[in-house]
């Protein structure tokens, strides 16, 4: 909220410098964010002390609990309390009533007092609408309101002064010369002062005359009863509307006004008459006319002050600050609280009507410490009596950290991305065409680009690739650990949040096969480091963003937990990739639950092993893995391991065939193997290979 220093100083009636006052406010919870000097001269205000020095504008961050400080008077009251001055009453409104009796001129009926607990009004006759005096326009302008005409300006001026929203109707345009305050039933509409046609719904508060709605209660008046240059008599409304009702309507219509902002936070219900009289008097002063005798006050259920039992020892209990009973009482009195002393230093405290935030003892504790200063809170370490407990449900952060560390040590750079994607991206990652089913949508996205929560980490990684390609970087190894969201687009299904780790490898100079095996190796290492002995990489169905036949499904105990493979080139190209892009995506939860099992050491071989390489030509369709399993199934004596380690094709091998080299390692537990023993075993391997159609190449080499 913006406040003019000259006005604040006038109402606080204290001698102080703006920055001192600002400092005091800031350290009492009303943060002054800026003090801006005002270049133009300060006009003299009638019946106020002459301006002292240049004026300033204070920008104050009034938190939602301090509705009482959304006015110059409210802030002035706070300033006096903080500077140790006794509270002053607001100006007693000496009101000069001259006109006819209001009764008989206008009839008011509050049909639904639940949405409008108090409604007051006055009538001012024979006014002359015109421009406001300079001092008034100066104050409105600097505090962010546009001067319109003297009547409207005065209602706004008193709103700024007391924080009580007011509205002026052209009384001659009130059909049937009556006002009804009621809840809207059914649908309707109203043309508001800003010229917008507003749709009305059940529960909105409406001010109506004998025929039509004339104002959206507590938010904005209607165009039909607007004050115009020929207006001669005005009906001034000063009311208290239900905060929740105003907020709901204001939110729905996306219409926040100075008025709705204050009603939402809660105005001072006992301040309603004060503001009304002040407004009527000021209109008479500025626009002339006569104030009709009497005022409307529909206030069926009086709101009384809340009484709170306060024990001064609670200050120390909650904050560690020592405060005596006398000190607490003095603070409360300065803040305008009513007290009744009870035995043992305890107090009955009644908060003033404007302090709608004070509800219980802890609120009073805060008042004491806030006014005394938070610097009095001691800094001490608590004595801990915590029983450390293992928490089985906790997805261990340190395990997530382990995944990060493994990937970093494998050369991957960690990235962190915004977890949103557009509908367009979802289409690209879908198999094409269909709606983005399965992604969780945001009802009120910041933009179309940020419409859905990502259902995969891959779009984020590709976006990071694009960013770096634009800066001239062509090869990249990156990973991200983060959540994805799926499901839950309908009301019945719950969206699920899945912690994932995903990596991307973009390496243009490397052949695709090399890059693929590299990514596969990363995933194998990760699985091995995480103790997932029952993990496997198998052929299976992949998400549509991978190339068919160039990927694998990662399983743990037969359940799929992720994928790896080549990203389809038309997708990679959208992100300006210049070569093959490979990726892996893994669900973390099935991996992280297994890492706690300690590793068991195996005894080391006591005798040297013998290694032989065996090269052969075989049909293109026979996989290395099937050959490995075939050899393993022969249970050849002392054959410890048979691993493919080279693959080649070429004219000397012929079409539809490929050359493979297997490395065989033989090991005897109790002795060094002889040449004859190894050759015998090797012969068995060769015989097996021949049975599956392999043609053996030149003599094997040994190491």
């Amino acid at each position: 909220m913006k406040v003019l220093w000259s006005w604040l100083r006038e109402l606080a009636d204290v001698e102080a410098r703006p920055d001192d006052v600002a400092h005091r406010l800031t350290f009492a919870g009303l943060e002054v964010e800026e003090i801006k000097p005002i270049e133009e001269p300060t006009p003299t205000v009638p019946a106020a002390p002459p301006p002292a020095g240049p004026d300033h504008l204070l920008e104050i961050n009034v938190t939602p609990n301090r509705a009482d400080c959304l006015s110059v008077f409210g802030l002035a009251r706070e300033v006096r309390a903080l500077l140790g001055r006794p509270p002053r009453n607001s100006r007693p409104a000496r009101i000069a009533e001259q006109g006819p009796s209001l009764e008989g001129e206008i009839e008011v009926s509050v049909v639904h007092p639940d949405v409008c607990p108090r409604y007051m009004g006055r009538l001012v006759l024979n006014i002359r609408v015109g421009e406001s005096p300079e001092w008034l326009r100066y104050r409105l302008r600097h505090m962010g309101l546009r001067p319109i005409n003297n009547v409207v300006d005065v209602t706004n001026y008193v709103l700024l002064e007391y924080g009580q929203p007011l509205h002026a109707f052209d009384a001659d345009r009130l059909a049937g010369r009556r006002i009804d305050v009621r809840r809207q039933e059914g649908e309707g509409h109203l043309l508001t002062l800003d010229g917008q046609r507003r749709s009305l719904q059940n529960g909105d508060v409406l001010i109506c005359d004998g025929e039509h709605p004339i104002a959206l209660g507590g938010i904005m008046g209607g165009l039909n009863t607007e004050i115009h240059p020929e207006t001669r008599s005005v009906f001034i409304e000063s009311a208290y509307f239900d905060a929740s009702t105003i907020r709901r309507t204001s939110k729905r219509l996306k219409l926040q006004t100075e008025s709705s902002y204050r009603f939402e936070r809660g105005v001072d219900i006992q301040g309603v008459p004060k503001a009304l009289d002040r407004c009527a008097s000021l209109i008479r002063e500025i626009a002339g006319g006569e104030i009709a005798q009497g005022r409307i006050d529909a206030y069926p259920r009086r709101v009384s002050r809340r009484k709170i039992l306060f024990d001064p020892s609670s200050v120390k209990r909650h904050t560690g600050v020592r405060a005596t009973a006398a000190e607490c009482a003095a603070t409360f009195e300065r803040l305008g609280f009513a007290l009744r002393r009870r035995p043992r230093g305890r107090l009955d405290v009644a908060a003033p009507s404007w302090r709608v935030d004070i509800e219980r003892e802890i609120d009073l504790v805060e008042e004491v410490v806030r006014v005394k200063g938070f610097e009095h809170i001691p800094a001490v370490l608590p004595a801990v009596r915590l029983v450390p407990r293992a928490h089985a449900a906790e997805p261990s952060r340190s395990a997530e950290g382990l995944v990060r560390d493994i990937l970093v040590s494998a050369g991957f750079q960690e990235v962190v991305s915004l977890p949103f994607v557009s509908a367009q991206i979802l289409h690209v990652f879908g198999s094409g065409g269909e709606t983005p089913a399965g992604a969780v949508g945001i009802l009120n996205p910041l933009s179309e680009d940020l419409h859905y929560l990502r259902p995969s980490l891959l779009p984020s990684l590709l976006q990071a690739l694009a960013t770096n390609v634009h800066h001239g970087r062509r090869s990249l190894e990156i990973f991200e650990v983060g959540s994805i969201h799926t499901g839950g687009t309908g009301a019945s299904t719950e969206p699920s949040e899945i912690p994932m780790a995903a990596g991307l490898l973009a390496a243009p100079p490397r052949p695709k096969r090399e890059a693929f095996l590299e990514v596969k190796g990363f995933v194998e290492t990760l699985l091995e480091r995480l103790n997932t002995s029952d993990a496997a990489l198998v052929a299976g169905s992949l998400p549509p963003w991978y190339v068919e036949g160039e990927g694998l499904v990662v399983t743990v105990g037969k359940n799929p937990i992720g994928w790896l493979g080549s990203v389809r080139s038309e997708i990679a190209a959208r992100y300006d990739a210049t070569g093959p892009v490979l990726a892996f995506e893994l669900r973390l939860e099935p991996l992280l639950q297994r890492r706690e099992v300690p590793r068991k050491a195996r005894p080391l071989a006591r005798f040297p092993s013998v290694v032989r390489d065996l090269s052969f030509i075989i049909d293109e369709g026979t996989t290395a893995e099937s050959i490995r399993q075939g050899i393993a199934s022969q249970r050849i004596a002392w054959l410890e391991e048979a691993q493919p380690f080279d693959e080649y094709r070429g004219p000397q091998i012929g079409p539809g065939k490929k050359g493979l080299t297997f490395r065989l390692r033989f090991q005897h537990p109790d002795k060094t193997l002889t040449e004859e023993e190894v050759n015998g075993a090797l012969l068995q391997v060769r015989e097996h290979l021949q049975t599956i159609g392999a043609s053996l190449r030149e003599a094997e080499s040994g190491i």
Binding site: A28, G29, E31, T63, P64, N65, A243, S244, R247, R248, E264, R317, H318, T319, G320, V321, R360, I362, E366, R370, F374, E375, I377, P378, A379, V380, L381, P382, V384, R385, L386, P388, R389, E394, P395, R397, R404, V408, S409, G411, F412, Q413, E414, V415, V416, V440, G441, I442, L443, N444, L453, A464, T467, H471, R473, E477, S483, H485, A491, E497
Partner: protein, 338 residues
């Protein structure tokens, strides 16, 4: 004959010692020991022609001379070789050449900072608790003393997934989930990603928080200050003060904002802190009794504090990063600095 042997030995020794290069030494070796016409070769032949009684003495003298000269040749060869290997024209390793660095990966500064903050609190006995990013309205707002239509909801612009489901605007709902599941004493932190419908130079629609909660008998705001002062020291080093300013968060009372002395100027005032010497780093306060009532704790017996620290804010101060968006652009030129 004895004379000739001694003479050759002296001559050879002198010339070997004076040989200027390996080439000259080699020529000398051939001159002395060459199969054809080498000085010692010739002398050996001469000894063979001596009378039988003179041969043993001269043979011994000649062998001694040969051994001595051969040793000297080897020594001189080593000297010259070493000189060649270390001399000014010798091929050398230019040790000023940049080292060949292995390709390594790096952590992102945000997750590093997050781990740093967690470690600080874990050392003080806090335990990690987590909760979902898509939260119910109840856990994110209502249980935290922000009923529907409460104006404090304006303080946190919210992304909605459904009427009663939001992207959590803070990690405070983890407090609620933890207190509903466990009994005091509770000493927990909730690190995580949070969402606000807000985007400009200093705001990102996604950021990270570490939320803390301690609830037990006898906990007061001085303990909060003590723990947070310790946190500032652990993260930024000693000598930077922490101060509380009264503020408002619906789920605490009293509520405070915490400023620490500016890391850049240590309180003198500079561009980082806008000249004030202080930077705001956290929100905190004593758990509102209504929050305790909402989770079934008796606020007459149990008191507690809660705090929330912005991870990006801390990372920006630690690493002198001026723009929050750099954390999410994943530009390697930025990330490779950490």
């Amino acid at each position: 004959m004895e004379e000739r042997i001694a003479e050759l030995r002296r001559l050879a020794e002198r010339e070997i010692s004076a040989a200027p290069s390996l080439d000259a030494l080699e020529r000398l070796r051939i001159k002395l020991f060459g199969r054809k016409g080498g000085a010692f070769t010739e002398l050996t032949k001469s000894v063979a022609t001596l009378p039988v009684e003179a041969r043993p003495l001269n043979g011994r003298l000649l062998n001694e001379a040969k051994n001595s000269v051969t040793n000297l040749l080897e020594t001189r060869h080593r000297e010259l070789s070493r000189a060649l290997a270390t001399g000014p024209t010798a091929p050398q390793i230019d040790t000023t050449f940049p080292g060949r660095r292995p390709h390594i990966g790096r952590r992102h500064p945000l997750t590093l900072t997050m781990d740093l903050l967690c470690d600080v609190f874990l050392r003080m006995g806090f335990q990690v608790r987590q909760g979902p990013e898509i939260e119910t309205d109840y856990h994110n707002f209502e249980a935290l003393n922000m009923p529907p239509d409460h104006p404090a909801r304006d303080m946190q612009d919210t992304f909605y997934i459904a009427d009663d489901k939001v992207l959590r605007t803070h990690t405070s709902p983890v407090q609620i989930r933890t207190m509903l599941a466990e009994r005091p004493p509770i000493q927990m932190i909730a690190p995580g990603r949070v969402f606000r419908r807000d985007s400009d130079l200093s705001h990102s629609p996604v950021f990270h928080q570490v939320e803390g909660l301690m609830a037990d008998r006898g906990i007061h705001m001085g303990h909060l200050k003590g723990i947070l002062q310790r946190f500032v020291e652990d993260v930024f080093g000693t000598g930077l003060a922490l101060r509380f300013r009264p503020s408002f968060f619906p789920f605490v009372e009293p509520g405070a904002e915490g400023d620490m002395q500016c890391v850049a100027c240590r309180g003198a005032g500079c561009g980082v802190c806008g000249g004030s010497g202080w930077v705001e780093i956290l929100g905190a306060g004593m758990v509102h009794p209504r929050v305790f009532e909402n989770v079934g704790y008796d606020p007459k017996k149990i008191t507690g504090f809660a705090f929330g620290i912005g991870v990006e804010r801390i990372a920006m101060l630690l690493h002198n990063v001026g723009n929050i968006r750099l954390f999410y652009e994943n530009d390697m030129r930025f990330l490779e600095q950490f």
